[in-house]
């Protein structure tokens, strides 16, 4: 892979993570357990959506500036291929609405369904803790655009982590029912956390250049934060070490298809529709 492809891959995966979690949290809109938390979650969803936009804009800019020979094979989705063949330049919306599931690079954790409040909190907590350390490191990236996005995102991630950590403690250390739900959500989602730290070719290439984050260096900090919150919440940290993976390479669970159906329906059926 060429260097420009590594950077595009990296930018897209961060954007996809943000889009898919933003969409998932947005599903709570109008269904929150209490009005105040309905608003809190949609605020958070919009933080993720804001980051999605910045990253897709940056990804589109990178793609448009690539030499023509590099552009082939980057995306496999037919709808996007057709657009590229007309030599139109891509924008943020094309990347969100015209890629098929196998072009999405988000981690599997984030496409897992909301199920119940505890499940939603556990998923956010694992990811918020990752984001917090990840963006603190990416802030120092040699790539100015990524560093600027990281700086803004770190402030948001700091609040997200505080919010989801408190909910883990509230539910874990709450009633018998809330504890049981929190513990089983943690147990079921645990196998999706390993993927956050898998380093592939893209990670290695960009970490060497000081652009990407050295994931191995933030893993112990993430683990320490997770276990200390779990201790306070009377939640057992799962010990199983077998981990799911595939999202970064475009191999997803069935859930992603349903998310994309919701998300992309309008633009696929009425291309270019605005309102």
């Amino acid at each position: 892979m060429s260097n420009s492809k590594y950077l595009l891959d990296y930018t897209l995966r961060l954007a996809d993570d943000a889009l898919i979690l933003g969409q998932r949290l947005g599903e709570w809109c109008g269904h929150g357990p209490i009005l105040e938390h309905d608003i809190a979650l949609t605020n958070t969803a919009l933080d993720h959506m804001g980051r999605t936009r910045s990253l897709y804009q940056y990804a589109a800019e990178q793609f448009n500036n690539m030499p023509a020979e590099d552009k082939t094979g980057v995306f496999t989705s037919i709808a996007l291929q057709n657009l590229i063949n007309t030599s139109a330049s891509l924008d943020e919306d094309n990347l969100a609405y015209l890629r098929d599931g196998w072009d999405f690079k988000n981690v599997l954790l984030l496409e897992q369904p909301n199920n119940d409040w505890a499940y939603t909190i556990a998923r956010s907590f694992f990811y918020d803790a990752f984001n917090y350390f990840f963006f603190a490191a990416l802030e120092k990236s040699a790539d100015e655009s990524l560093a600027a996005i990281a700086e803004k995102s770190l402030k948001e991630a700091t609040y997200h982590l505080r919010w989801s950590s408190e909910w883990v403690v509230r539910l874990g250390d709450g009633t018998e029912e809330s504890h049981t739900r929190m513990q089983s959500a943690v147990n079921e989602l645990w196998m999706y956390t390993g993927e956050l730290f898998i380093e592939n070719e893209t990670d290695n290439a960009l970490a060497q250049q000081g652009i990407g984050v050295d994931l191995a260096s933030i893993k112990p900090m993430w683990m320490e934060r997770i276990t200390s919150v779990f201790e306070e919440a009377n939640i057992n940290t799962p010990q199983n070490s077998w981990m799911q993976k595939g999202g970064r390479e475009g191999r997803h669970s069935e859930h992603l298809g349903y998310i994309l159906t919701d998300l992309q329906f309008l633009q696929r059926t009425y291309p270019g529709m605005q309102w």
Partner: protein, 116 residues
């Protein structure tokens, strides 16, 4: 039904409805005060439900400051606010109506005093 009794019945219904709501949500009500960037004092912004003070501050952040309204938040549980009785308004406030001499409008200020 005489008007007075009708009014009383309605009030009873309102109180019952409020108690029903409180019972259902179980989280106490909090009053929220926000200080804006330019403001010196915290102003009453509204109320919300929360399980404790920390959650109340966070809920207030999400409900009342998401459009950049504030830089500081106070919350106080609504039950801790004691209010004057509206039915005593006559005796509490009317006596001040005819005491215009309590306004400092009867003094001649020296010209040197600029800001009064």
């Amino acid at each position: 039904m005489p008007a007075k009794q009708q009014k009383r019945t309605r009030i009873v219904y309102i109180i019952m409805a409020q108690q029903e709501i409180t019972k259902k949500s179980e989280w106490p009500l909090w009053e929220v005060f926000i200080r804006s960037k330019a403001g010196l004092d915290h102003k009453h912004a509204g109320s919300l439900h929360a399980a404790d003070a920390q959650m109340a501050i966070e809920n207030a952040r999400d409900v009342y400051t998401r459009r950049m309204e504030g830089v500081s938040i106070w919350v106080v549980e609504s039950k801790n606010i004691h209010a004057s009785d509206p039915s005593e308004a006559n005796s509490l406030y009317d006596p001040a109506n005819d005491k215009i001499y309590r306004h400092p409008t009867f003094y001649n200020l020296p010209d040197e005093v600029k800001y009064m």
